[in-house]
């Protein structure tokens, strides 16, 4: 039964969609975590996914992750593209037998009628070159729209996942547009109220999209960003070195933060268009080396099962 209050109704409000997913996955035994407090390109970067998917310990978590993709900014003018958006991330380790069914149930919970809509699992081999991670799975389509990413992690930070985690990533704005029947992301009803009390997605985020697009594409100081990249890289290496030596690694998490920073600096530089196709590869490789080293350090911590 959908909640009577439209501010909690997944088909009537953006926040209702999020809350429904939170409740659904809490019922499946997931820890409901909060977003990571750093700029990341995707929910996968959250240490609750990247690092927790390494090592033998079982883990189930779900959280919203604000994700920044500087290059996708469109000055608030494109109905589908945002440089900042929300992902809903679920990580289940080891992947349960009925993960596909759980996923479909979660769609039903937010109001997708499987008798009316064409839901499909379309091959999509996921790979994060910067994280040194890959997995096999699908993009999940609802009437031709990609609403989620479904992945069985095989490798993260260059290490084989044992056991394998199942990762679900919902594109919340797209999914909300779908269930609300809205063509423009800025028209999404955020709070489910009507009239004066109605707050749209645009009310909350349009100005930010415009401002950040200016920053991402025109004004971000590339010299500073190049320096940020170098600094984060150096700090990461230094922390990894200082934390090593003992039986356990002592600073895997702070080191990994620096890896995230380097990755975001790279994304901004990429959006500024100052990195050529040829050079791109070498930057990606540099972040991957950091991610791998952080993964190795994590495996030598208690959380990593050491």
């Amino acid at each position: 039964m959908p909640p009577a209050d439209s501010s909690l109704d997944p088909t009537k409000s953006f926040q209702g969609l999020i809350l429904t997913l939170q409740t659904f996955w809490a019922r499946q035994g997931c820890l409901i975590l909060q977003p990571y407090d750093m700029e990341v390109g995707a929910g996968t970067f959250h240490p609750a996914t990247t690092l927790r998917s390494l090592g033998p310990k079982p883990w189930r978590a779900a959280y919203v992750q604000p994700s920044r993709r500087p290059k996708d900014g469109r000055y608030g003018e494109n109905p589908n593209r945002l440089q900042h958006y929300y992902q809903y991330q679920v990580i289940l380790k080891p992947s349960p037998e009925n993960l596909q069914d759980l996923y479909l149930e979660s769609l039903r919970a937010i109001g997708v009628d499987m008798g009316l809509h064409d839901v499909r699992f379309v091959e999509d081999d996921w790979e994060s070159p910067t994280l040194g991670a890959w997995g096999l799975g699908w993009e999940c389509w609802c009437d031709g729209m990609e609403v989620s990413q479904f992945t069985y992690f095989q490798q993260v930070a260059g290490f084989e996942c044992a056991p394998v985690s199942g990762e679900l990533t919902y594109g919340l704005e797209r999914l909300a547009m779908y269930v609300q029947g809205v063509e423009n992301v800025y028209d999404l009803n955020f709070n489910g109220r009507e009239g004066e009390a109605r707050v749209s997605y645009g009310d909350v985020f349009k100005q930010a999209e415009q401002e950040y697009s200016r920053f991402n594409f025109e004004h971000a100081d590339t010299a500073i960003l190049f320096q940020h990249f170098k600094d984060a890289e150096a700090e990461c290496r230094s922390l990894l070195e200082r934390g090593a030596g003992g039986e356990r690694h002592l600073m895997a998490l702070p080191a990994y933060d620096q890896c995230i920073k380097a990755s975001h600096a790279f994304n901004l530089l990429d959006a500024r268009g100052v990195i050529s196709v040829t050079e791109r590869q070498s930057y990606i490789l540099r972040v991957r080396e950091l991610a791998k080293a952080c993964g190795a350090a994590w495996l030598k911590t208690a959380g990593g099962g050491a």
Partner: protein
């Protein structure tokens, strides 16, 4: 005669792997059956997104009983030998053995050992798990709790069930019992994920197909394809439209549905103002939908989608949802297209032409092409310079080639190429045409990337050729200049592909193009930019320090000095370095040409024989020489000439070892030609050598080879009649010199010492 039914039920398999997987399943299982003496009458494999199925008909109930005759000791052999034989043959008494007579050896015992075959069920229970575990998926994965074990089962996506039965027609059917990594075989399958999710009890193939059909699963991929094609065509026809057929897409979408339901979607007609390639790329690649065209052959504002559901509203919501996505994608595409056709606000003052404004942006952004090779803008300068140099050599107008080279990369900063990188070049062509560039310039912008692979079309018009060559030679020259050559399997900058592209453009267009000049120019241009890049680096350090408030004064000067010295430490370009790098790049071309010709079936040794000649930088000439040499060696005269050459070369080598290299380098003395065979050879050599050189000089390699082939009789006669190592040292010297001249004459066309066989 039981039939085998096997179904491997999994989560959704990638469409592109399904057909091969079905074939592999059939091949592996039937081969294993035959290996176990289980002959069958027929086998057929099927695949849907969630199941791989195999039906094998006409199997025996069991493996045939094997009889083996084992020879024993002779009759009357010692008791120990007889007992040993009884034991090894499994007989109780010697009377159970038969006695055979051999004319030489006499009578001896023979035991007939019978091995009853195992049942087919037992064999299948052994075969299937082995096949499943070793299945050749292009990519496979682990999942769930089992994935902690290194020997965990791998499958393309999680394997969830196995149905395996043996059924005799009109008689019993039984499950073949086995388990693979905890998944037990059984007699249940499932229908359509949403339309018939309940388990279905199945014993035999006929039931299986019927039950699946009822459960909204069309088992046969070809049947699904036919349904889709037919329904798509009739839907299109009903609207007066025609389906733009696309076999690759059809195959793919048939692998995405178990129950195809074809629907039509619509988008606003004004999206059709976008180039059709863009519309099609958007709809096909992103949405896996078919496009349609009207009676005039133009794209229509409708598309065909294939869903997997009999929806309660007849598919209205599905069609509307798909249309919404298509519209959003096309809206993106149109936005890019229109933006790209218009002025770029910050660069309006640079030029009136939109594509030139993009070029200005590309220059202004200082996009780095490679750390050591400077920016894209610098690269464009280099390519333009090279294109100017190459244009006259390939019959292209210099100004047009330069213009095309200048604009060739400008579309990289357009919105459309940012979104669809695969449209680079093509979009440049559209934008160039739109701003009124010459047709040959617009063509060259698209074609300068070609060929992208061994099967891609090569550019054929002169301006396109000039720019395509300039682009590739600059890439090669640049990476050679900074010593980033491909090694082993590592070729991150696709330099082998670039060289192959040059080779194909030159050879397939029949171009005479000695490479030394353009390659040298490419390397030189890159070396200069490497040098500038270093200076820029030093400048950047100083700039950055100043910006951070580092005071001007002796300290800053000191830092500047140190940075400049560090920058200068690397070698500066000089002629020797230029020559060495160009030489190395030419060697690389020789290697790539060998690979190219070998792939075309040319003999490796003949290519070596031609390449051993100095100055081989004209690819077309090399090929002609190799071909001529091959034809010469196919003749009797050619083979004998080769034999004569070898004899001469061997003698020379042996004698040179004694007397020192070059000991017989001079010209022979005609006065010292003692025997008629010597004189004949000398005369023939004078004539043939001159003819061969003259003909090779005007590139008539066939003629040159023919002239050499004429040497065969005097060479044969010489070796028959003349003792080379005569006692008289003057005679010996003269004869060896004559052989030296023979070797030299032959080397005018190819180094025969490299010829194998």
């Amino acid at each position: 005669m039981p039939d085998l039914l096997l179904e491997l039920f999994s989560e959704e398999m990638p469409a592109r792997m399904q057909r091969q997987a079905a074939e592999d399943l059939k091949r592996l299982i039937t081969n294993a059956l035959v290996d176990r003496n289980l002959a069958y009458e027929g086998a057929q494999a099927f695949v849907t997104p969630r199941r791989l199925a195999l039906h094998v008909v006409g199997l025996p109930a069991a493996q045939p009983t094997l009889r083996e005759a084992r020879k024993g000791p002779r009759v009357g052999a010692p008791e120990a030998a007889v007992q040993g034989f009884l034991k090894s043959a499994g007989l109780a008494r010697i009377e159970d053995a038969t006695i055979e007579n051999d004319p030489k050896k006499g009578a001896f015992y023979v035991a007939t050992i019978e091995r009853p075959g195992r049942t087919t069920s037992e064999a299948v229970a052994e075969i299937v798990p082995a096949v499943v575990r070793a299945f050749p998926w292009p990519k496979s994965m682990r999942w769930g709790e089992a994935s902690v074990r290194p020997d965990a089962l791998r499958w393309v996506r999680p394997l969830r069930g196995i149905l395996c039965t043996l059924a005799t027609p009109h008689d019993a059917a039984e499950v073949v019992p086995f388990a693979v990594d905890g998944i037990e075989s059984g007699q249940f399958t499932r229908g359509h994920r949403f339309l018939a999710p309940a388990p279905i009890d199945v014993r035999r193939y006929d039931d299986y197909v019927d039950a699946l059909m009822k459960a909204k699963v069309v088992l046969d991929a070809d049947r699904r394809k036919a349904i889709i094609a037919e329904d798509a065509k009739s839907l299109a026809f009903a609207q007066g439209l025609e389906l733009v057929e696309d076999e690759g897409l059809l195959e793919e979408v048939a692998g995405l549905v178990e129950w195809p339901v074809v629907l039509m979607g619509e988008f606003e007609a004004d999206y059709l103002n976008i180039p059709p390639e863009v519309v099609r790329a958007t709809i096909r690649a992103n949405q896996k939908c078919f496009v349609l065209r009207d009676a005039d052959g133009r794209l229509a504002n409708r598309f065909i989608l294939v869903s997997n559901l009999i929806a309660s509203d007849g598919g209205a919501a599905i069609a509307a949802g798909n249309a919404r996505v298509v519209r959003a994608r096309l809206s993106d595409a149109r936005h890019f297209w229109l933006t790209d056709l218009h002025d770029l606000p910050d660069y309006k003052d640079k030029s009136e032409k939109p594509l030139d404004q993009r070029l200005a942006k590309l220059e202004a952004l200082e996009i780095v092409f490679h750390e050591k090779l400077g920016t894209q803008a610098e690269r464009i300068e280099r390519i333009e310079t090279l294109a100017r140099e190459i244009a006259p050599l390939v019959g292209a107008d210099v100004a047009l080639a330069a213009r095309a080279a200048r604009l060739a990369k400008a579309d990289l900063v357009t919105e459309m190429v940012g979104e669809f990188p695969e449209l680079q070049g093509l979009m440049g062509r559209y934008y160039a045409t739109h701003q009124g560039e010459e047709a040959s310039v617009a063509d060259a912008i698209e074609e300068h990337y070609k060929p992208q692979g061994p099967n891609d079309r090569i550019p054929a018009s002169p301006v396109s050729i000039a720019v395509a060559l300039a682009d590739k030679l600059d890439t090669l020259g640049g990476f050679w200049a900074i010593d980033e050559k491909p090694t082993g399997s590592k070729d991150p900058y696709a330099l082998r592909r670039a060289a192959l592209g040059v080779i194909r453009i030159v050879l397939e267009n029949g171009l005479r193009l000695p490479l030394t000049g353009p390659l040298g120019a490419a390397v030189w241009g890159a070396l200069l930019d490497v040098e500038f890049a270093r200076e820029d680096e030093a400048g950047a350090v100083v700039h950055s320090l100043e910006k951070r408030g580092f005071p001007k004064g002796p300290e800053l000067d000191e830092i500047v000095g140190a940075v400049s010295r560090a920058a200068r430490r690397a070698q500066v370009p000089d002629d020797a370095r230029l020559a060495a790098i160009t030489r190395s790049l030419l060697d690389f071309f020789a290697d790539r040409l060998k690979v190219y010709l070998r792939d075309k079936g040319a003999r490796h040794d003949l290519i070596d024989a031609v390449y051993a000649l100095p100055g081989q930088d004209d690819l077309l000439m090399v090929v002609w020489r190799v071909e001529a040499l091959g034809r010469l060696l196919d003749t009797e005269d050619g083979r004998n000439l080769l034999a004569g050459y070898r004899r001469a070369a061997n003698i020379l080598r042996a004698e040179e070892k004694r007397d020192g290299a070059g000991a017989f380098a001079g010209v022979h003395d005609p006065a010292k030609l003692a025997l008629p065979a010597e004189r004949d050879l000398a005369d023939a050599l004078a004539a043939a050598g001159a003819a061969a050189r003259e003909r090779a000089g005007r590139e008539d390699f066939e003629g040159a080879m023919r002239a050499l082939a004429g040497l065969r009789p005097p060479v044969d006669a010489f070796f028959l009649d003349v003792t080379v190592n005569a006692d008289d040292p003057a005679l010996r010297l003269n004869r060896l010199r004559l052989l030296g001249e023979l070797r030299e004459a032959v080397h005018a066309v190819a180094d025969f010492s490299k010829v194998a066989g």
